[in-house]
Each structure stands twice: as structure tokens, then as C-alpha cells.
Symmetry: C2
Subunit: 234 residues, 2 copies
DNA sequence: GTGCTAATCTTGGTATGCCATAAGATGGTC
DNA sequence: GACCATCTTATGGCATACCAAGATTAGCAC
């Protein structure tokens, strides 16, 4: 698969400093649900688990705190941020705005190379759907959207969406895993992709709209059903 | 139980940590332009200036880094984030989406109390316009929008907008100070306010749209004129 | 005089130590 | 037996010490 010049421009030094690695690990662990919502993040414990010093852990926590993934209770230290449906709903609404716009602009701007990249991403998504590996599906979905935002030239919006996704990551994992999602998700993604390949902004936006509305609805049911989604015990 | 009344009793000012103060000071200094774009943020110097240890400074920088106000160059340390027109344009576009939506929802939801608060905010804005005090105008404008977002129930979006505003703060100060802005800004704000008071979502959204489009245009001219607004000297 | 090397200095990254406080345990008193 | 005071410990906030790497400058050799 020939990679377009889109995403390979980053000569970025792979996670160099311990701090960056720590941020990624922690974020990954929180997003993956290894630390439940409300769980305390005890610095010294994390030091042991990560094998780094407290300085590193503390700075990583500050970073995640600014990202909204961690909250700092005044005197009891950092805890994993909790999420209620009110916030989740807002987040889905914001994603709706940003993603429909991105899809439309992507459809407007996509050239041949961009379309090839999108096709590749959809292909990977298809495989992940079939493989039924949650993590791979999650990653492939993320990458699919990354291509859309990148082609649209919406770097900043992508940054925001990623951050928001972090905050609803557990919900997102649940919606992706949801059974009805399995059948319709693939079809919807394909619809988005086709609209972009046809350079049809309206249809692309509308496809994203439907897709996200459905995801939000599933999330609402999930969060609404078990009123207390997670336990705050440590 | 009068839960709502009790919620306001939060006195979270007491456990004010040095770190929080440092973050606020630094952010304020960057937004106010005391540190120009691209300026290096030398830890030990900041330690002296703030009178705190490196731990505090470093954690504050990590926080601002996640906020996008500070960038960390691989080996030369943190610098104040720079802004090119491409990013600024994206930011204005995102604000456009979020703020029109917020204004519309605000117009839908505003009750008598909310409308009174909005009127007060506009009043303060008027006075600030007349007083020609840049800082006061900046604050009053921010507060005006805060009311709109709060009434609309868009906390999360407001958080995002504030963060984005931080990144274009210098541009924003310039557009607010711009002379043509002086005459039309007030009128536009009034138009936004009136539409909301009339509970007219479409007109509110359209008023915000015009307002922001104009601001973006002014910003583009300002940033376009002196092609390289700031020096990245290092 | 020029070019190369080495020492130093600057700066950031990492580790550790000390202190204040809050929560839990323990023991004494009524 | 219950309640209160005190002690202990767990934990976070803050400061400092040490180390590695890059830049700058000085000195030496040619």
C-alpha cells in the first residue's frame, strides 16, 4: 500500500523522553479502562508500575490533567476523570459539528492520493470489523477519521476531537463493541467513504451525521441503563 | 434538599497550590504578550521570576504544553507556541461552529434570569467599549460569551473555546483594538444580544456568524500584512 | 592565521528527600 | 462498651541534587 505524503511527514522522534512515554502509557491505560473512572492515581504506586521517578509521573499527570483525562481533587490527589451523560452528550454534539464539517471539506479537497489513503483506511477498518478485535477496531476507526481530518486540513479540529474522544473513550469502546454496531457500523463507514470518493460534501456530511447520531444514541442507552457506570472504589 | 444552593458554597480557593498560581501567572503572561511567540521559557529563569522551584515551573509548563500554549522543542526546551495564519483560520472556523451553535441554543433556552444576565453582560461590554480600556474590553467580551455558553448549557464547548482563544489571544487583542472594530463590534454584539432576548435562534446564530467572520477577516489582514508576525530567534 | 579539540557552561531530564496534612488505627477514659 | 484524643502512616506538594547532552569558547597545533 503506497502511502501518500499525507501522514508520513512526521520525522518525529519516537517517544524520546520518559515523560512522553509515561503520558502515553497512562493515557492508554485510562482509555483502555485499566484505571476505572474515579480511581485514584497514587503517584508512588504509578512510579513502581511505570518504573520511573515521581517527577516524571507528576508531570505526566499534569499533562493528562490539562487534557481532561485526570482531575485533581484538592486534597486527595489526582483521580481518573468521571463522565456523566450531560458531558458525554455535549461531546457528541461537538464531534458532530467538527466531524461533519471535516467530512465535507475532505470531500471537497480530496485528490487521488487522498482518496487512495482513505480507501486503505477503510480497508483496514473492514478487516478489523471482521477480525472482531476491539483494539484493532478502535485504532482503525481512529485512523480512518484521522485521514479525513488530515485531508480536510483540519489539524486543530482533529486535535480537539482526539482529546474529546479520550474523555469518552470507554463509551466509545462500548459503542464500537455493541452488536448492532457491528452490522451497521461498517455500512455507515463505507457510506462516508463513498461520499468522499464521489467528492460529494453534502452526502459525506450527512453520512457522518447519521453515523455519529447513532453512536450517541447507543452511548446514551449504555450510560442511561446502568445509572452508575463505574465504581469509584480504588 | 437544596442541593443547588449548596453547590455554590465550594471554597476551592483555600488549597491553592503554588503550581496553580504558576500556571495562571504564566498563562496570563503569555496571553498578555509579555512572552512573545517563540520566546524560550528557560526553567531556571522562570524559577527566579516566579520565586518557586523547578518542580513547580516544570509541572506548570507541562500543563500549558497540553493546553497548546507552549511547545516543547526536542532539545532546546519549551517555547511559547507560535501561530501561523493556517492555524488561526482553523481556530476561527471552529469557533464559528461552536459559537453559532451556542448562540442558537442559548436563544432557545434563555429564561428571564438568563436574559437579565445577558443584558448585564452587554451593559458591561458597552461601558468597556466606551472606556477604551483594552483589558476591560477583552474581559467583558469573554464574559459575554461565557454567559451565552453557560445559558446554552455548553460547558465543554466553552472550555474548548477558551483554550482556542488562548492560542489566538494576541490576534484577538488586536482585532478588539482595531478601529473599525470599535464602531461595528458594539453594534454586532447588540445584535447578538437582541436576537437572544427575542428567543430567535436563527438570527442569533447569524449575528454571531457575521461577528466572527468579521473578526477573522480583520485577523487575516493583521497576520497577512506583516507576513512574519514574530521572530523565532533562539 | 586557521582549524580542530577540549573544557566549561548552559539547559533540560531524572531521582530523591523533606515537610505538611488528612485519614485511619490505637489506646485511654468515662 | 462507647467516645474522644493522640499517634502513625500514607500521600501529595515542594525543593534540591545529580547527570547527560548540546553549545560556546579558549587554547593549542600546524
Amino acid at each position: 500500500m503506497h502511502n501518500t505524503a499525507l501522514d508520513d511527514l512526521k520525522i518525529d522522534h519516537l517517544p524520546r523522553t520518559l515523560r512522553e512515554i509515561a503520558v502515553e502509557r497512562l493515557r492508554g491505560a485510562i482509555i483502555a479502562g485499566r484505571f476505572p473512572s474515579g480511581a485514584r492515581l497514587v503517584e508512588r504506586t504509578l512510579c513502581d508500575q511505570l518504573g520511573v521517578s515521581r517527577s516524571v509521573v507528576r508531570e505526566a499527570i499534569r499533562y493528562l490533567e490539562a487534557e481532561g483525562l485526570v482531575e485533581n481533587a484538592p486534597r486527595s490527589g489526582p483521580v481518573v476523570a468521571t463522565l456523566d451523560w450531560g458531558q458525554a452528550e455535549q461531546i457528541y454534539n461537538i464531534r458532530l459539528l467538527l466531524e461533519t464539517q471535516a467530512a465535507a471539506d475532505c470531500a471537497r479537497k480530496a485528490d487521488a492520493a487522498a482518496k487512495a489513503a482513505l480507501r486503505d483506511a477503510l480497508q483496514a477498518l473492514d478487516e478489523a470489523f471482521r477480525a472482531s478485535e476491539p483494539q484493532r477496531l478502535y485504532d482503525a476507526t481512529t485512523h480512518f477519521y484521522e485521514v479525513i481530518f488530515t485531508v480536510a486540513g483540519h489539524d486543530v479540529a482533529w486535535e480537539i476531537v482526539q482529546r474529546l474522544n479520550g474523555r469518552i473513550s470507554r463509551l466509545r469502546a462500548l459503542t464500537l463493541a455493541s452488536t448492532d454496531r457491528h452490522v451497521s457500523g461498517q455500512a455507515r463507514m463505507t457510506r462516508i467513504c463513498e461520499a468522499i470518493l464521489d467528492s460529494d460534501p453534502e452526502r459525506a456530511a450527512s453520512a457522518v451525521h447519521d453515523h455519529l447520531t447513532e453512536a450517541a444514541e447507543i452511548a446514551r442507552r449504555l450510560l442511561g441503563n446502568d445509572a452508575r457506570p463505574e465504581d469509584k472504589s480504588r
